[in-house]
């Protein structure tokens, strides 16, 4: 991609094209498997092979007819929504604490708050299983929710923290100074200002929860989420139904991520755009 800025630099056309080609290849590499899965999900043949058979929705029909898939989907959605809301609330609290207060050990607090996504999921999943079963919470939807909140809240915090860092530090004291108590300021200033990031965090954490497999596999027990179910299918038989489910989950997640992206870049940038006309 050569932005308008790059064009003003005297760079040879050859390099420009090479760079564009490079980006194309990189995207191809990343998205080829997903694209293949997408294509084969509409293919009538039982096994993925070229040339393709005819266009068919039979795998979608098969998936739709399977009550286990519906149950998995319902689990995934319920867990995703609850996890999104809880993670965003926790993330907001943590980010605001970081923004507002100075205290001893703040670096440690931040490091710990952002740590969970860096722990290998196998270890996190095992630890969660051991811990949740100790307190008799393993093997149900609640356990998946708890485990996913641990994984997702740091993402929410990071997103909201970024937005708060763009806020004029005088904004909050200005509201107090105009007669708003701390709670009113939270409601009428902090939340409206961070709203794009809050919604963005909500969608991203939902998407992360939808896709998360390893931790859910350890703790979900009989209440499997869709990704766990997919693995179940795989272990039984290789079926293009997996492609159908995969395509569906991919589209859902991408929708959430794109929504978040729109909120975070578009609206946020608008607020700060300088007016260059003189009075």
């Amino acid at each position: 991609m050569s932005g308008s800025g790059a064009e003003s630099i005297n760079r040879s056309r050859g390099v420009d094209w090479a760079l564009k080609g490079y980006i194309l290849l990189a995207y191809l590499f990343v998205f080829a498997p997903i694209a293949a899965s997408f294509v084969f999900s509409f293919n009538s043949d039982r096994f993925p092979s070229i040339p393709l058979g005819s266009f068919s929705l039979e795998w979608y029909e098969a998936v739709a007819a399977d009550p286990l898939v519906w149950q998995g989907l319902r689990n995934t959605l319920v867990v995703g929504v609850v996890v999104g809301v809880i993670s965003t609330l926790l993330g907001f609290g943590a980010a605001y604490t970081d923004y507002r207060y100075k205290f001893a050990g703040k670096q440690v607090y931040l490091a710990l708050a952002l740590l969970p996504p860096t722990i290998p999921v196998i270890i996190l999943g095992l630890a969660m299983l051991a811990y949740l079963s100790r307190i008799n919470l393993s093997g149900n939807a609640l356990s998946v929710i708890i485990a996913h909140v641990v994984v997702c809240a740091p993402f929410a915090m990071a997103i909201i923290r970024l937005r708060l860092s763009q806020m004029d530090p005088a904004l909050e004291p200005a509201a107090w100074n105009l007669g708003a108590s701390e709670w009113k300021t939270m409601r009428h200033v902090i939340v409206p200002f961070t709203k794009p990031a809050i919604l963005g965090a909500l969608f991203i954490t939902m998407a992360v929860s939808f896709d998360e497999f390893a931790v859910a596999w350890f703790v979900s027990g009989l209440n499997e989420t869709l990704p766990v179910k997919v693995l179940g299918f795989l272990q039984g038989q290789v079926s293009p139904r997996i492609n159908a489910i995969g395509t569906f989950v991919f589209v859902l997640s991408m929708t959430l991520v794109i929504l978040a992206q729109l909120l975070l870049s578009g609206k946020g940038a608008n607020d700060r755009a300088p007016a260059d006309d003189k009075e």
Binding site: A170, W176, D271
Partner: protein
Amino acid sequence: MQRDTLVSFEGVVKRFGSFVAVQKMDFEIRKGEFLAIMGSSGCGKTTTLRMLAGLEAPSEGVIRLSGKPINDLPTWSRDTPMVWQSLALFPFLNVRENVEFALKMRGIGKVERRRRAEQWLDRMQITEFADRNIAQLSGGQRQRVALARSLVVEPEILLLDEPLSALDAALKVRMQSVLKTLQRETGITFVYVTHSQSEAFSMADRVVIMSRGVIEQIGTPQEIYRAPRTRFVADFLGSSNLFSGRVRPGAAGGVELETPAGALKLGGDGVMPADGTTATVTVLDTKTHLSVTPPARSVNVVPVRVVGEEFVGATATVYLETPQGQEIRVQKGHDELADLPLGIGQDLFAWWEPKDGHLVAEA
């Protein structure tokens, strides 16, 4: 305490850790005055203002508003709105909603809110932008929104922290007159923090000059300009020549200052310092005169040599040096300088009337 006192600082100190930002501050703000607080960067101007607004708690001392101590009153319960250097307008609200904000927070109903906001939008001439976003306004328009937003609650006092610093020179002058007119018409007490001598001196009824957390002088612009109280103030204003030396009885009566540039006669106002002490006298550069031959009455004459000249509008500043290397400046209208040879290296005599010399406190 006088009857017309609105705010008083009584022994107010502010520390940040071990750093003292404001040292034992005692002063009063009068009802309805335009007070400017001026000083170099980091001298504690903003800190002083924030303590008055309730955004910073004094480490010691009492601040009173209308006689009542307000140390423990949170900022949202005080009526001390502030105009911020960054303006701090709410970017997610439009102009009208920004102006209504303080009324909404006070629980005033929608209709009344709308009516009062309308008045201030009109007064600040921003009615036509009422439904715009903040990002769509120019610097001067934003300034007006910030003023309307603070004044809509019709407070007794308005605090302003370098509100004009982001504007270009022409707009700055326009907004200065807007502010001054507003203050005169509403009778609201303005406390105005600034770096700029011209802003402070052109708008304020009284000026506070601060240095390193200490008040150096409070007075009307004329008082401060004519007679800086301390060496710091004289240096800060940069409009006076300073001479330091030992005090001794004068040859022809009175008191003289024995300086490297010669014996200088003291006159004018104030108590004369005791013999044998050191003292510093300031003379305005506009009250310092130049001539080719020594003037007839030969007191306070210093031989000087021209080192440069600078034109500023209708006046010119001549830079000179004594044989001892001390810089002396003389500021005059062009016609007053027309008859003097001012080539670099030219020898001249600088002199002034004893009554134009002012003693400053030795710090």
